[in-house]
């Protein structure tokens, strides 16, 4: 039985995807598209062959999707995994079509059931995990967390030299303005539960008491303009990794929570006991922020 797995890597987050195929027990091949250092990191995990491709200057990784797909298809692995990274996914899509694989997104686990592959995928925004079975090749987009892999004897790196398709980077500009959110230890963030612009001072007081940076949900910055746009958190805003994220009057929409996936502890204050944010927060206070914030400030100063 073909038990070979290939893993596509084009950005920093790759350890979870690699760790997911290791228990399958077959030969593992990693394809790294990016700088040499990335290939070296993957190699140090010692989990099998590493093929490395360095994109030419001004050429994005996606330009190599067609030629890389042909290499993957020629090896015909049973399992092909990519991360969510856009470039990785483009390579996965090209290779999956050539392999005639079943392409499953949001995958968190893989296992054998006889000759079948069992694929566990998160559905309905992660509220349930569905197990799917197939007797054919599988292309999976990994959606689990990163893990720490033990260091092992490095595998050799084989360099690939491929011609790119006609895709070019015309311009690359930095966008973020320094807000201090990026490396903040603590962040206090507020949403539409705050009723008036003048009340922002109350939340700011809590941020000061906790020695935290101040952030907000998208509508606060975009629709109401109560805080700079550079300070909202979420899919299209900041992606932050504080030790503490305290969300005040924020409903917890999935687009918002995407921005704090890397937070260590999430605490929420919301008057609605059924607020979505309580499904993902580690701690919560069910209560009116106008009463809870003064109480919190008083408690911290005790």
């Amino acid at each position: 039985m073909n038990t070979a797995s290939w893993v596509l890597i084009a950005s920093e987050a790759w350890s979870g995807a690699l760790a997911m195929v290791q228990p399958l027990g077959g030969a593992v091949t990693a394809v790294v598209v990016g700088p040499r250092e990335l290939a070296d990191e993957v190699t140090a995990s010692g989990s099998g062959d590493v093929l490395w491709l360095e994109p030419a200057d001004g050429v994005p990784a996606e330009a190599y999707a067609g030629t890389l797909a042909a290499i993957v298809a020629a090896a015909a692995p049973r399992v092909l995994v990519s991360t969510y990274d856009p470039a990785c996914r483009v390579v996965l899509g090209a290779a999956s079509a050539q392999l005639h694989a079943r392409l499953v997104p949001n995958v968190v686990g893989l296992a054998w059931a006889g000759d079948n592959v069992l694929v566990q995928r998160a559905a309905v925004g992660g509220a349930t995990i569905e197990t799917l079975s197939t007797d054919g090749p599988v292309a999976a987009i990994y959606a689990g967390d990163e893990v720490s892999l033990p260091a092992r004897a490095p595998a050799p790196v084989r360099r690939l030299d491929l011609a790119p398709a006609e895709i070019r980077i015309l311009a690359s500009e930095p966008v973020a303005v320094a807000t201090g959110l990026d490396d903040a230890e603590r962040v206090v963030s507020f949403g539409r539960g705050v009723r008036a612009k003048d009340d922002v001072a109350l939340v700011r007081g809590l941020a000061e008491a906790l020695d935290a940076e101040l952030a907000c949900s998208m509508p606060i910055a975009d629709d109401l303009g109560w805080l700079e746009k550079s300070r909202y958190v979420g899919r299209s805003g900041n992606h932050i990794t504080p030790a503490l994220y305290m969300a005040v009057g924020i409903a917890g929409a999935p687009q918002h929570m995407e921005g704090v996936r890397g937070a260590k502890v999430v605490a929420a204050i919301n008057s609605d006991p059924d607020a979505r944010i309580f499904q993902t927060a580690d701690y919560g206070i069910v209560g009116d922020l106008y009463e809870v914030i003064p109480a919190l400030i008083a408690e911290v100063h005790k």
Binding site: P60, E62, A63, G66, A69, Y84, R89, L92, G93, A94, A95, S96, A97, Q98, R102, L103, P105, R121, A123, V124, G125, A127, T128, I129, E130, T131, L132, S133, A139, E166, I167, R168, L170, A171, S172, P174, V175, A176, E185, R235, S236, L244, P254, K264, V265, A268, P273, F278, D282, Y283, G284, I285, E291, V292, P294, A295, L296, A298, E299, V300
Partner: protein, 243 residues
């Protein structure tokens, strides 16, 4: 340029309820377009405007195909009997067959959705076309297809040759809800219904063997008097070492 905009009209996963055994109750889920579809439509329209070209809508499934027609798209194609598939590759194969059926297409613009992040890339793979996904806008100034994407801290402008697939990611809820006039106009616009047998692509899918709730630690909720709840939360956060 002949641009195809792929959109979806299906039950909104955000409204689905997961039962305690992990199974999904879709009964209260409203029909909705994909969250990223308005961004895809905006990009397709921009490309058509820049090139004096046309936009054709494409959707699959038995839903209402008028979403794009009511938003200014002149004609649409619907693969009415395509089922909802777990395999993003199979969904993409149906879409690719429909793109070939439409014929002479220069660019396909599609929502690069968080829930189904394999559809756009597998569609490019099925067509054998270059692709970029996670894009925020697209245009075609001076005959060259261009796309913009923002990652944390960086904005990139890229160019690519046609034919190509562009996967668009919405940055906010940018849907323009059409008025009565547009809805009436949509009814008069041509909608071509095709079937899987017309396209010759019977989809194969994976077999579902069950659902379970993810193992997550429930959040610790403090209720009651604000002062007491605040004291409990501060104590818990200090114990975690984050205060």
């Amino acid at each position: 340029m002949k641009a195809v905009v792929v959109y979806k009209w299906a039950r909104n996963a955000a409204d689905a309820i997961v039962r305690t055994d992990g199974s999904i109750d879709w009964r209260n889920a409203r029909m909705a377009a994909g969250e990223d579809d308005p961004a895809a439509l905006a990009a397709a329209k921009q490309i058509a405007a820049d090139t004096d070209g046309t936009v054709i809508g494409l959707t699959i499934g038995d839903g209402d195909a008028s979403w794009a027609l009511a938003r200014g798209v002149e004609q649409a194609v619907c693969v009415a009997d395509a089922p909802n598939l777990a395999d993003n590759g199979a969904t993409a194969a149906v879409l690719a067959a429909a793109v070939r059926y439409i014929g002479d297409v220069d660019v396909v613009v599609i929502g690069d959705s968080k829930q189904e992040p394999g559809v756009a890339v597998a569609l490019a793979g099925e067509l054998g076309w270059p692709a970029l996904v996670g894009l925020h806008s697209a245009s075609m100034p001076a005959g060259q297809l261009q796309a913009v994407r923002r990652t944390v801290g960086e904005q990139q402008t890229l160019s690519l040759s046609t034919p190509a697939v562009l996967g668009m990611s919405a940055e906010s809820d940018a849907d323009q809800v059409p008025g009565m006039k547009e809805l009436l106009a949509a009814r008069k616009r041509p909608l071509t219904k095709v079937t899987l047998s017309d396209l010759g692509t019977p989809p194969v899918d994976l077999v579902s063997v069950g659902c379970r709730k993810p193992d997550s630690t429930p959040s610790r909720l403090f209720q009651g008097e604000p002062a007491q709840a605040a004291a409990q939360l501060v104590a818990a956060l200090r114990a975690e070492g984050v205060l």
